[in-house]
């Protein structure tokens, strides 16, 4: 597998989660002050880096490779289903598109109702930790499959975090023009493809063209996603 694919997948997944985390951090920054918002963000990021740095090597050292492929494959499948079906529902008009401005306003209302500094810190910390946890697990699974991939996967996640943080610093406003659903669709397809590929290998199945089968899996899941979006689309009322 090309390390660029790992980098691209973690970059896209991380960018999406960072956009949501940035909305929460900005809400905390504007209502409770930037010191509390940024210190909570730094603590949450440190926790995420520690989780990824500890979990990856531990998995590689102590879990047999076949079992590892099954476990990480199943995790990627579960995450992939969640991402892709949400994107399908949104393309089909069955779930509303995420509105970062509305999410920002809601956070600001909640924070104004609680004047405590501790509540603001916890909001920013939890926001970054929860949004980042899935990315940390994805980075770890890429690392667990092939040792050399860890740095690429981690670099993709960190590059996305740096890009979103820089954009947030410049814009100072929630991101409302990001094609979040299209990005979610792509991440879902990639996670499902890798999850299918690795779990099958772990279970002792053989792919018809080795690593090249990944391209077929990506095409199959993307096609299934488009077909399901079309089939589930709500008819427009006259």
């Amino acid at each position: 597998m090309s390390p660029w694919i790992a980098l691209g997948t973690t970059f896209t997944a991380s960018a999406l989660e960072c956009v949501e985390a940035a909305t929460i951090v900005m809400a905390v920054g504007y209502t409770a002050g930037w010191r509390v918002a940024l210190s909570a963000t730094a603590w949450a990021l440190a926790a995420l880096v520690a989780i990824a740095a500890l979990l990856g090597p531990v998995l590689l050292l102590y879990v047999p490779i076949a079992a590892l492929k099954i476990v990480i494959g199943v995790f990627l499948l579960l995450f992939g289903y969640t991402w892709l079906r949400k994107a399908i529902w949104r393309f089909a008009g069955r779930k509303s598109l995420r509105d970062e401005n509305a999410a920002f306003e809601k956070e600001v209302r909640d924070l104004r109702a609680h004047h405590e500094r501790r509540y603001a810190f916890a909001t920013a910390f939890n926001g970054v930790l929860v949004e980042g946890l899935e990315v940390a697990v994805i980075v770890v699974t890429f690392a667990a499959e092939r040792a050399g991939t860890f740095l690429w996967a981690a670099a993709g996640a960190l590059a996305a975090a740096a890009t979103v943080a820089s954009a947030a610093f410049v814009l100072r406003h929630p991101f409302s023009r990001i094609p979040e659903n299209a990005m979610g669709f792509i991440v879902g397809v990639m996670l499902l493809s890798f999850g299918t590929f690795w779990s099958a290998e772990g279970l002792g199945l053989q792919w018809w063209s080795g690593d090249g089968a990944l391209l077929t899996l990506v095409a199959a899941y993307a096609l299934a996603g488009f077909v399901l979006s079309a089939l589930l689309r709500k008819p427009v009322s006259a």
Binding site: V74, F75, L77, L78, F79, Y81, T82, L84, R85, K86, I88, W89, R94, K95, L133, E134, L192, T196, S199, A200, L203, G204, L205, Q206, W207, W208, A213, L217, A220, Y221, A224, G225, L228, L232
Partner: protein, 57 residues
């Protein structure tokens, strides 16, 4: 536990069952020719279709 389930499986009841079914198919067809992988993929794609029919969350 509920939170963990929501985090891992997005509160879907279908996806864990579908993955379990695919694993059973894979184990039953292990050692068979390459179409075993295609059957495995087929069950997982059917799971995708089934989970989109669950109530929207």
């Amino acid at each position: 536990m509920k939170r963990f389930y929501a985090f891992v499986a997005g509160n879907s009841r279908v996806t864990p069952l579908g993955i379990a079914a695919a694993v059973v198919v894979a184990l039953a067809l292990r050692g068979s020719p390459e179409w075993a992988a295609a059957a495995y993929l087929g069950v997982l794609i059917a799971t995708l279709a089934a989970c989109t029919l669950e109530p929207v969350q």
